[in-house]
């Protein structure tokens, strides 16, 4: 029995550096999973392996009942997964609205007025409507992060993967982001969220996994995980650095 998203012994290394070490876990449909771990632990690489930006050395990825391991990123996206990038990757020469339209037409398969209306709705939700005609290259970092979320939502995914979108936000902005993500989750979208802003993460996710050196070192109920000694050790380490 495989879950909605199932990683099975996924391993990837670049020379001596192992970014994913026999990663195995499942995410059920409708679940919200949080991912934490120190910088360089392999969290973003794990996203790259799930979305097809990276190919694993060994192991399998199953999504929505099919083996997607050999599919490229585009095909996996069209099968229903969308992500935001930790380092924003806007289409700089296109406007915010056009960025959204790329996702709506290419990933979600919408067209014409239906696509336009859907993009306007999402832009309202992500509070970028007043910047719709701005070139994406001219946005602030906060704007670019919002654009990452906008594009991922415009792809109308079944599985939404968020990579550190709360970093650098003020308390109020963070609260509104948490509300937005809760709404999306409530509408039935499965979520995997990598985040260092732990209180934002805990407000949304049902379950937490901890990654270090490409290995899953803990998994379970969020508050219990945060209290476990190994996580305390890793996380207090980060906090002290920050």
């Amino acid at each position: 029995m495989t879950a909605f998203l199932q990683l099975d012994q996924v391993t990837k290394s670049f020379g001596a550096v192992t970014v994913a070490d026999e990663l195995t876990y499942g995410v059920e449909a409708g679940e919200a999973l949080g991912v934490i771990g120190p910088n360089g632990a392999g969290k973003t690489s794990m996203f790259n392996l799930i979305t097809g930006t990276l190919q694993p050395n060994s192991g399998k990825v199953h999504f929505n009942g099919q083996d997607v391991t050999s599919m490229n990123a585009a095909k996996r996206c069209r099968s229903g997964m969308a992500r935001s990038f930790q380092v924003p990757q806007p289409f700089s020469g296109m406007t915010v609205f056009e960025n959204a339209m790329v996702a709506a037409t290419q990933a979600a398969g919408l067209s014409g007025h239906e696509a336009e209306k859907f993009c306007l709705e999402v832009l309202e939700q992500t509070e970028l409507l007043d910047r719709a005609n701005t070139l994406a290259g001219g946005l602030t970092l906060l704007g670019r992060k919002r654009l990452e979320l906008t594009r991922a939502l415009c792809a109308r995914p079944k599985l939404l993967m968020l990579d550190e979108i709360a970093g650098g936000l003020t308390e109020a902005e963070c609260a509104s982001l948490v509300k937005t993500i809760k709404d999306i989750h409530a509408s039935g979208v499965t979520i995997i969220w990598i985040e260092h802003v732990v209180h934002a993460l805990l407000a949304v996710v049902d379950r937490l996994i901890v990654i270090d050196f490409g290995k899953k070192i803990a998994e379970g109920e969020p508050h219990a995980i945060m209290k476990s000694p190994e996580v305390q050790e890793i996380y207090l380490g980060i906090e002290a650095d920050a």
């Binding site: 585009a74 969308a82 406007t95 609205f97 790329v102 990933a107």
Partner: protein
């Protein structure tokens, strides 16, 4: 702020004005045989063919990121196909141009499969090597004159039109028509769903792939279509020249270097850029060509200055300053009138 208060438009006052001006200019240009002299028509015909080549190279390099320095492969292939199909196949020259386009697409498929394995600078060098292979291959065909080339037989030239002025008008209209068709095709492609994908690829391949865009397939289609149309333009170029040789047909200077110059100074990655670039290139050529090598040095200086001062070309400069667009490609979100001030 509610999304239902907004609507999306693609045209603007500038694009509407540009469309009207374009129609007026077209009428004047179509009537050129009745108002222009023989030399002017020749010059304008050449200008239209360069405009077509530049628009195609811009689509391929500026949007799909395929920086080819080997498009002379298709120009020369088209020229030779025109000669072969009319001389040995007995085809009418205009029909031969169409068939050449199909053959260009067919030969572009294996070439693409080969050179798409190369990236960046290696891709550029690969395209040049392919063009040299084409040149050396055609130099071996003795029935087409081998290394010294051949001329189009008088009978075939006459089949276009009995009178000299009739031939000149026809080749002028063919050149004008090809430029209009190429620009219209590029415009319609960019305005479509595939055009949105291509523009996304232009800006960021990583994000484009992650949003469901099949990058390889999109680039492959652009490469093959560009090759087919470039082949047809090549056939047309040598229908005007009436003489072909491997060195002229596969000249990297004439069919790629000048074309890149046009696109880069005009503004790469925009439809308007190649139009502006072609006008500037011909203005420079007509005023400076008598100076010999100094002319080429001036071209080089102009290219370097523009690349340093305006990396997005002259159109990039205009667009940034006036937020202007002549072809209605972008989407603009506007607040609906009914809700203004509410």
């Amino acid at each position: 702020m509610n999304h239902s208060d907004f609507h999306v438009t693609r045209s603007s006052a500038a694009t509407k004005a540009a469309a009207i001006i374009a129609i007026l200019v077209m009428i004047v240009l179509i009537a050129a045989p009745w108002w222009a002299g023989r030399a002017d028509m020749r010059l304008m015909g050449e200008l239209f063919l360069y405009l077509a080549l530049a628009s195609l190279w811009n689509l391929m390099a500026g949007y799909a990121g395929l920086v080819s320095v080997g498009q002379q492969a298709y120009v020369g292939f088209g020229g030779y196909m025109l000669f072969a199909l009319t001389m040995f196949g007995g085809m009418h020259p205009v029909a031969a141009i169409g068939v050449a386009g199909v053959l260009g697409a067919i030969i572009a498929i294996p070439v693409a499969l080969l050179i798409f394995r190369l990236r960046g600078a290696y891709f550029a060098i690969g395209t040049w090597v392919i063009a040299e292979v084409f040149r050396l291959s055609f130099a071996q065909v003795s029935s087409l004159g081998g290394g010294s080339g051949s001329s189009l037989p008088v009978g075939i030239v006459r089949s276009l039109s009995e009178s000299r002025s009739g031939r000149e008008s026809l080749s002028y209209w063919l050149a004008l028509g090809s430029a209009v068709i190429v620009i219209a095709a590029v415009y319609l492609f960019l305005r479509s769903r595939n055009g949105l994908a291509l523009t996304a690829i232009r800006d960021n391949e990583l994000a484009a792939g992650s949003l469901g865009i099949d990058i390889w397939r999109t680039k492959f289609i652009v490469y093959v279509v560009t090759a087919a149309l470039t082949t047809m333009i090549g056939a047309l170029i040598f229908l005007q020249k009436l003489r072909i040789s491997p060195d002229a047909a596969f000249s990297v200077n004439d069919w790629t270097a000048f074309v890149i110059f046009i696109v880069v100074i005009g503004g790469i990655g925009t439809i308007e850029g190649p139009i502006i670039g072609t006008l500037i290139f011909f203005a420079l050529r007509e005023t400076l060509a008598d100076l010999g090598t100094i002319y080429l040095m001036v071209l080089g200086v102009v290219a370097i200055v523009i690349m340093l001062k305006a990396p997005n070309g002259i159109w990039g400069l205009i667009r940034a300053r006036f937020n202007l667009e002549l072809f209605p490609l972008s989407f603009r979100v506007k607040q609906s009138n009914s809700s203004k001030g509410a």
